[in-house]
Amino acid sequence: MSNEATLHSQQEVMHGAGAHDHHDHGHHHESFISKYVFSMDHKMIAKQFLITGIIWAIIGAFFSVLFRLQLGYPDATFPWLESILGHWAKGGRISPEAYYALVTMHGTILVFFVLTAGLSGTFSNLLIPLQVGARDMASPFMNCLSYWFFFLASLVMMASLFVQTGPASGGWTMYPPLSALGDASIGSKIGVDLWLTSMALFVVSQLLGGLNYISTILNMRAKGMSMTKMPLTIWSFFFTAVLGVLSFPVLLSGFILLLMDRHAGTSFYLSDIFIAGKALANEGGSAILYQHLFWFLGHPEVYIIILPAMGMVSEVLAVSSRKPIFGYLAMVGSLFAICILAFLVWAHHMFVTGLNPFLGAFFVLLTLLIAVPSAIKVFNWLTTIWKGNINFTPASLFSIGFVSTFISGGLTGIWLGNSSIDIHLHDTYFVIAHFHIVMGVSAFFGMFAGIYHWFPKMYGRFMNNTLGYIHFWVTLVGAYCIFWPMHYEGMAGMPRRYFDYSTWTSFNQFSGLNQFISFVVILVFAVQLLFVFNFFYSIFKGRKMTTQNPFKATTLEWTTPIHGIHGNWPGEIPEVHRWAYDYSKDGRDFIPQTEPLGPNESGH
């Protein structure tokens, strides 16, 4: 209400003061539809992405609880499963088809809908205009479209969960021939068509968003905000958008060929296939071709997920340890190096597909090279908090947790990047443990850090800290308890994607361990629901924000009014005079970016 009132009084002032000056900013009365539904305000679009992402995260995580029940308690029956899954869980036991559908959708939902759209969609939208000093995105309309394409993609994917033959279930990578032939399995029928349609809409959404992020950052920075004065968050969103804009179209081309194989009788990916004893006419296709096209996106995709988290962690660590970020230019340089290398390592997902070993050697080298910029970043995060005066807020704890999981998950990446070790470890639980820790848990920690830190900027209230601490500690300990044991299972050779290991003598020894993992999964899932409760409760009942800059940060978003207005700053956009990390400088706790350099002061 007060927000509305402020906005109105300002509009009146603006009308009186000179209408020619602000002709393209929203100063008309906003209806419910234009404010909350088809909003063109980047801050509202950010909230739309975030809340849609949270809903998807609950669904995707709940799927993992369901299939972990099967893996941990293969002999038990849970009658309540039949009441929610129907014939997919006859007698309270998940059917193999349902298991594969759950695993596939868990991957798709979390990789694309939560950690791509929910993470970079939320924070790129919220922070880019606020931190570079822009009134809104380059094209607010395209930004609005970007969200609604994502919404459409969500609807189609959601619909695929409810069709009679079930959703796509050939794995989130959708490899042919399982995905190319409707007769290959029950999960290869209309579920795959809906999956491909949904993902095509998703790619459009990502491209519209990415175009906007890039042109806003390059083109609409406030006066004085040179590229090297930008906070690291903006650099990370920039490289994320570049990766998305260059790699998603290649994925789309792969999907178009796949759709042709499904419906037009072409043979891009199909060759010499027998189904039920009958030979198919398809000849000369190559399933490996799809893997090349898929992983050319697929590998940059993991950096699309992790870079925004890295940027936000850098910012939160500097703010909460009251120290400038260590090695700003090295941080930017390593983001750039990761961005370039991301395009040159895709074949390390394909070491055992019959890839030429000579070619494989180059991909090993380039993959191991990624360790260098990653190590630079880890070093700089540690030196940033070293001897800092750390405020252990939930946001800073999640940032420190991010550094921890990024190290432990990154180190196993060096193992898997070697093509010779990969012969033993590929498609085992070791791989599951590696990418869940380094990409899943780390990215979630970055996202949680961002949500706790910028929640006041979004809603003008704080989240509850006590619930935040419980959320952090249970999630950190739980994540390690879930994924650490999987390394042992993987080294013992336990393959991924199997429905039931209890009949397999070699892996009987792990039944206790599997039960333990599943138990922790349920616990951690419950704590995430606590976070969701905290989030929604705090929107309405959280402690109110009383000062503009509660965390005493230097960046521009904290110079805007507590209750955001469309256009972000009433009056002039502030001019920027210094970099974003002047903490504990010249005896002062922090110096905002808007403060001019003193006469005896040198810029960074």
Partner: protein
């Protein structure tokens, strides 16, 4: 209280976004042509000559690039009558181009190279087909601008929309030249 100042912009954001979008579209066609190269190096690759009508369509799309360039010039000189004629002509040439490509498809089909035939032919259908969609997208944009030019209530004097459309049009033209050269050489 001060008034809201105008946003600082170096290049018009729509032009900027267009350049990035063109990079993105280029990446999709790089995806297709790389897939083509990979597939071509494998066994059972059937080489054949492209339909000759593709050369005619090339002439058509080159001509349309010229007409949209002239349209932009006329718009800047405020010769609205000539401008309207030229963008109409450009849109018609765009449709003629798409029709020529379609005739090329029917010729391929009659020569025993249907979409579901050898993979080398399937690639031509998909790559050329996706390119046609991009040309038709440009035609839709021109139609929108055509109706805008006839509006009497609201008049626009900004050259940005026609500049954006012209840049995109030249882009799909150059993209076609690239595809034609690529598909002719790498058979």
């Amino acid at each position: 209280m001060q008034t809201m100042s105008i946003q600082r912009k170096k290049i018009h954001p729509h032009k900027y976004s267009l350049w990035i979008a063109m990079g993105s579209i280029t990446m999709m066609f790089i995806g297709f042509t790389s897939a083509y190269v990979v597939k071509r190096s494998q066994a059972n690759w059937l080489a054949f000559e492209l339909p000759h009508i593709f050369w005619l369509s090339t002439a058509v799309i080159l001509l349309s690039s010229l007409t949209i360039h002239l349209a932009l010039k006329q718009f800047k000189e405020r010769n609205m009558q000539r401008y309207k004629q030229l963008i109409t002509l450009t849109a018609i040439l765009g449709v003629v181009f798409a029709a020529c490509q379609w005739i090329g498809f029917t010729q391929m089909k009659s020569e025993g190279l249907p979409l579901s035939g050898p993979v080398s032919a399937s690639f031509i259908y998909v790559i050329v087909g996706v390119h046609i969609l991009h040309v038709l997208g440009g035609v839709v944009a021109l139609l929108v601008m055509f109706f805008r030019a006839y509006r009497t209530r609201v008049r626009t004097y900004s050259a940005v929309p026609i500049e954006v459309a012209a840049t995109y049009w030249h882009f799909v033209d150059i993209l076609w030249i690239y595809l034609l050269v690529f598909l002719s050489i790498a058979r």
